[in-house]
Structures are given as C-alpha cells and as structure tokens.
Amino acid sequence: MRNIDEMLIVDQLSVAFPGRQVLTDVSFTLQRGAFCGLIGANGSGKTTLLRSILGIQPLSAGQIRIDGVSRGNGFGSVGYVPQKIQFDPDMPLRALDLVELGLTGHKLGLPLPSKARTRLVDEMLAAVDAQNFADQRIGNLSGGQQQRILIAHALIRRPKLLLLDEPLANLDIRATAEIVSLLRKVASEHDITVLVSAHDMNPLLGAMDRIVYLANGRAASGRTDEVVRTEVLSALYGYHIDVIRVHGRVLVIAAGAANEIPAAIEQHTAHVTVIP
C-alpha cells in the first residue's frame, strides 16, 4: 500500500447549526508528522472542526479524508482529547483505569486482567510521565495531571492522528510548557500527526510547524509566519488587523473606534486585542 503524504485533508468543509453558519468552505491539508495549531477565538468553531474530523459532527458540505480514507464514523485511527472534562472527585476510577478504557472502552463483557494490556497501560503512563499518580482517583488529580491521563487515554490505541481540544486552557505557565513539550515528544517518538486547538497561539509558537487560523467561520492555513500576517488576517476578518511581534510573542490587534469594529472581532477580544 502506498504511503500517502497527506495525513489529513479537509476539503471545502461547511458546518451549520440551526440558524447559525459556523464553518464556511474550510480547506486545509496536514502532512504526515505535522504539528499543527488550530487557532481561533472562543466560538470560532475549533471544537466543531475537530468533531467534524472525528466524524461525530454532521457536515453541511465538504469532505474529510484521513490517511487517504474518507471519514465514516469516529471509530478508527484518530485519537481525541476533548475540551474540559470535569471528573468528580467521587468517581471510583483510578487514572490508570481511564487509560485502559481508551483501549477497551467499546468492548463487551467484563474486563479480565491481561498482562499484555497492563504492560501497554504502563508504557502509555510512562510516555506521558504519569506513573507517580496513576493509582489515584482521576477526580483528585490536578488539571495538568488529568490532561496527561487523557492524552495517554487517546494514545493507547496508537492513533496516526491526534486531535486535542484546548489542552492548555486552565493550565498555568509551567504546566503549559510541560504539556507542549510532552506533545512534541510524543508526536516525534510515536510518529503521530498532531492538531491542537488553542485560543492563544503564543504558548505553541515554538512547537507548531503549521497553523490553521479560524475567524469569521473561515480558515487560513500554512506555516505560522505565512498565516499570522497583517494581510492574511485582515482578509480573514474583513477588517484591518495588525500583527505585532514583540519579545518572541505575537499580538493580534484590531485598531479603530469601538463602534466601527465588526462584532465578529469584538466578540473575539479573548484572542484579538482591540485598541480603541
């Protein structure tokens, strides 16, 4: 079988919810082994796009191919770490049980102990550096620790493509840096293509080699320095946007009187700085 260079092809994808067009004509391609950031403000459609790739979101138009195969349903070689799961501290489940469910969650019958599976779980825990708290209840772990366990839960099926939805939200600076370098390490060691969503691109700047930028329901993609530019983002937002680089950080700024700035940008002030 030919090894296709494109791991993910999103072709003219549109998604609408009743009375609301969320994604319009989104197209981009991820090469095998890419580490890509999916950047957009709150409500820009990041989760919707990831759910579409997983095949658990009905599309209004467009096509998605993963490793040369059209997406039918969510089951397969795609790993997924969902946005903000709150595990109750009372859940009777150890972190390592959750990792194991990543492999066996769909299986029928009672779980029987298996040496091979235990070894695999241990291997995944080691990959995400979680052995120290693997035996604790999942609900008692910190946000960063839960994030690691969820990554192991997704990795254990050996996906070729790993989607992570806002894995850095709610993490402090140190935990953010740890998770980013962990993702980089996992991606190169296990030869996985990674697509990670974030509302702030700065923590990912050093790690990602590609970017998909969502605004106004549309997307621009390419290398970071190709996409995060005044002309490209201005075209995307349909309004003049300045991109400023200072101290190795990127600021995206909409300048103008408050009543002139389109609502689409104003809503996105979490990501775009509006200067009146």
């Binding site: 997924y80 049980d97 469910l101 990543g102 969650g105 009672l110 604790q136």
Partner: protein
C-alpha cells in the same frame, strides 16, 4: 453467647416462610440496585431513579385495584415512565431534570387517583401503605422465580455492556469517539433502572426504593477506588442492610407485642447509618485493592 444469639435470631426466624421469601426478594433487589445504582450515580441520574420509583407506584396502585400481582404493575409503569423520559429525552442536564420532574409529577398524580379508588372501593388503607412503603412479609412466594429472572437479566446485561456503560457514564464524548452508541447505552441504562426500581419498590415500597438504589451505591463510591470494587461493595451493603432490616423487623414483634415494625424503616435506617460511617474522614477512596506494584510513594 447462646442467649445473645437467641435474642437476635428470634425463634422461628429461620423456618418462617415469609422471612425466606422476603430475604430472597430483598436480596435480589439489593444486588440489582447496587449493580445499576453505581452507574446511575456516576451518570448523575439519581433523580431519574427516584422519579421512576415514584411513578411506578401508580402501577402498584393499579394492580391493587385490578387484583393482579403488584410486581407487574410496578414493572409496567416504570418501563412506561422510562420510555417517556427517553422520548422527551434531552441531553442537557438541566432540561433533563425538568423533564424528569414533570414525568414524576404526572405519575404521582395518577397514583393519588388510583389509591383513592383503592381506598373507596375496598375501604382499606392497606394498599396505600403497601404501595408506598412496602410490605415485605406479605409477598407471595410464587413471585420468587420471576424476581430471580429479572435480577439475573439485569446483572447479565450490566456485565455485558460494563465498559461502554462505564465510559459513556464518565464522559459521553470519550465514548462517542470509540464508536459507542451513547444513546442506546443511555436507553439500556434507563431500562435496567426501571427493572431495579420495580424490584425494590416491591421490597421497601415505591417511595423508599431510591434509598436502596442510591444509598448503598453512594456509600460504596465514598469508599471504593475502582468501579468493580464499588459495585461489589454496594451489593454487600445493600444485601446486609436488607437482611439486617428483615431480622430487626422480625424481632420487633417482641418489642411491641402483637405487631412488628415496618421492615422498610429498618432497612433505610441501616443504609443511612452506613452512608454516614462511609463519610468519616480518612476512609475516602481507600478500597483500591492494588493488583500490581503501582502503589507509589504518593
């Protein structure tokens, strides 16, 4: 020592037919409630469990009126209510609570009417107490096979879908990603819940059956660190409380000569006490039973 045993186990306890029947049906109800109750709590559907139980009382009241075995009344009404909830079903927790509450209200209204007919046509208040609070020593032995079949069916079904049920109860997106039909699992859970509720409605009454469904499972969740351990522990607590309650109720014939106290009172009280004890500091999540050398210094 022998004297103590003689006081606790009053003469006739072990040879009494009604006691045997009560112990078998109560034990079955406790085990089924534990198996499903743990998942019900993890899913955050305790209120749905309570509503199903309350609504099933309408079926119990109807069967008194029709003179059929109350089990079929409870069962029919619980399954009907579960279908109604699923039909009106909504995924958002808040709306789900509303739908549950509305189904609950409608069901209890029907119960009020049917119990009124029970009382007026048969001029007895026994039906109301029996439907709402149970009358374990009055259960006919002929119902045992049917109860055991229902219990076995629930236990086998939970065992069959154990992991998909667990994962979708923890987080529906994680389950969906693995190709699990979350909706179907939710429906099966509601169905098993209505079976569990039927059994415990017969045991300790429709109103109190939530206690058997939620109480032991909640206490077990406080103690256990793994789902399997939680289920076994909940079953143990449930059966212990039920049998203990039957024993105390039997004994209570001697405390107030001529009439014993209701079994349900003792069962619910024991469950409540166990739940309080399980919450004592220093016990949470201790029952992990480590199988490997994973216990770390933390």
């Amino acid at each position: 020592m022998n004297y103590l045993i003689a006081v606790i186990f009053q003469p006739g306890f072990f040879v009494s037919g009604p006691v045997h029947t009560a112990m078998i049906i109560g034990g079955g109800a406790a085990i089924v409630s534990a198996w499903i109750g743990v998942f019900t709590i993890i899913r955050g559907q305790s209120f749905a469990g309570h509503a199903l139980a309350d609504v099933s009382s309408a079926g119990g009241a109807a069967s008194f009126l029709l003179g059929i075995n109350p089990m079929f009344g409870f069962l029919g009404m619980a399954v009907l209510a579960a279908s109604a909830m699923e039909f009106l079903g909504v995924s958002r927790a808040r709306e789900r609570d509303l739908v549950t509450g509305i189904v609950l209200g409608a069901g209890l209204g029907l119960t009020a009417l049917l119990l009124y007919f029970d009382v007026t046509t048969r001029s007895t208040t026994g039906a109301a107490t029996s439907v709402m609070f149970g009358s374990m020593f009055a259960i006919p032995a002929s119902i045992i096979p049917a109860v055991l079949i229902i219990a076995l069916a629930v236990v086998l079904l939970v065992a069959a879908i154990y992991r998909p049920l667990l994962l979708s109860s923890l987080d529906s997106t994680l389950a969906e990603v693995q190709g699990i039909n979350v909706r179907l699992i939710g429906l099966l859970h509601l169905l098993m819940l209505s079976l569990a509720v039927t059994l415990s409605a017969m045991t300790i009454g429709a109103i109190l059956s939530t206690a058997l469904l939620i109480g032991p499972a909640a206490a077990a969740l406080r103690l256990a660190k793994r789902p399997g351990v939680a289920i076994c522990l909940a079953a143990l607590i449930g059966v212990g409380a039920t049998w203990g309650g039957i024993l105390l109720a039997y004994d209570s014939y001697n405390w107030t000569p001529g009439h014993g106290w209701p079994v349900s009172f003792f069962i619910v009280t024991i469950i409540f006490a166990v739940y309080l004890l399980a919450g004592l500091p220093g016990r949470r999540g201790r029952l992990g039973i480590p199988t490997t050398n994973r216990l770390m210094s933390t």
